[in-house]
């Protein structure tokens, strides 16, 4: 009889304790970070070839974004240089055609 009273008192006490305890807020992206850590740990456990390493690097958004930006910048810069050269050559030929008859060149 006394034991039953003690058990119900423990349950009440436990409930009161749970209510009074404050849980701190979880950091942002807690769940994503947990999964990422689990994935990283699993990936580290598997032996990866250089091709897999490269492929995983390419698929990382930061790397892919940087590579696309770099390629576009290099392409635009090289294209501008070539375009300037072509425009210069065209202008030179225009002048030459105006002052030097083709039969004399």
């Amino acid at each position: 009889m006394k034991k039953e009273n003690f058990n119900s008192a423990d349950a009440k006490l436990g409930a009161l304790l749970r209510e009074s305890r404050s849980f701190p807020a979880l950091p942002p992206r807690f769940q994503q970070n947990v999964w990422r850590r689990i994935e990283d740990a699993e990936a580290a456990a598997l032996p990866a070839s250089w091709l897999d390493v490269l492929a995983s690097l390419i698929l990382r958004p930061h790397f892919a974004g940087a590579a696309v930006a770099a390629l576009m910048l290099i392409g635009v810069f090289a294209g501008m240089q070539e375009g300037r050269q072509m425009a210069r050559h065209e202008a030179q030929m225009n002048y030459l055609a105006a002052v030097a008859p083709h039969s004399l060149r």
């Binding site: 070839s49 390419i58 892919a64 696309v68 392409g75 090289a78 375009g83 202008a91 039969s103 004399l104």
Partner: protein
């Protein structure tokens, strides 16, 4: 392994497409933006860093030279017609054709001298250093083709031309 290879090849293809696309778009855009086909003298301004006053003087010289050049071109074209008529359908160069050939050569030489004189005059309207560069560039562009042709016909290329 196969998945990684596919990713790598796909990334390479995509990268090449991005590079080539941006290269050609910017090349075309720059060419359209920088070119000024309406003005024959635009090259002089940009290449030799000429100011408005120098350009105005050079434009005046250029416009004075063009009618003389056109007149000379018309004479050369007429002489070419005479030469073709003299050559006719024969297989030998007759004395009349030889005379026309000499006259054509003389006209060309006269036209070339006039052109070189114009280049010299234009070069004097530029700042000295730019003028020297212009004259050298124009001589290279107009006389260089003949020099290359003559060099290719001489012993320089190992091919002897005996007369």
């Amino acid at each position: 392994m196969n998945r990684s290879l596919a990713i790598l090849l796909g990334a390479l293809a995509l990268g090449a497409a991005i590079f080539v696309g941006s290269y050609f778009v910017s090349q075309r855009a720059t060419e359209i933006c920088c070119a000024n086909p309406a003005d024959d003298l635009s090259w002089l301004r940009t290449e030799f860093h000429l100011d408005d006053a120098e350009m105005a003087h050079i434009r005046e010289l250029h416009e004075g030279y063009l009618p003389k050049c056109a007149e000379m071109c018309a004479k050369i074209a007429a002489k070419k017609g005479e030469l073709e008529a003299a050559l006719g359908s024969g297989t030998n160069i007759n004395p009349e054709a030889q005379v026309k050939l000499n006259e054509l050569a003389a006209l060309r030489a006269q036209c070339q001298a006039q052109m070189l004189q114009h280049f010299a005059t234009v070069s004097q309207a530029m700042p000295p250093e730019q003028g020297r560069r212009y004259l050298a560039e124009m001589q290279k562009l107009t006389l260089g083709t003949h020099e290359q042709l003559e060099q290719s016909m001489s012993g320089d290329t190992g091919h002897e031309h005996h007369h």
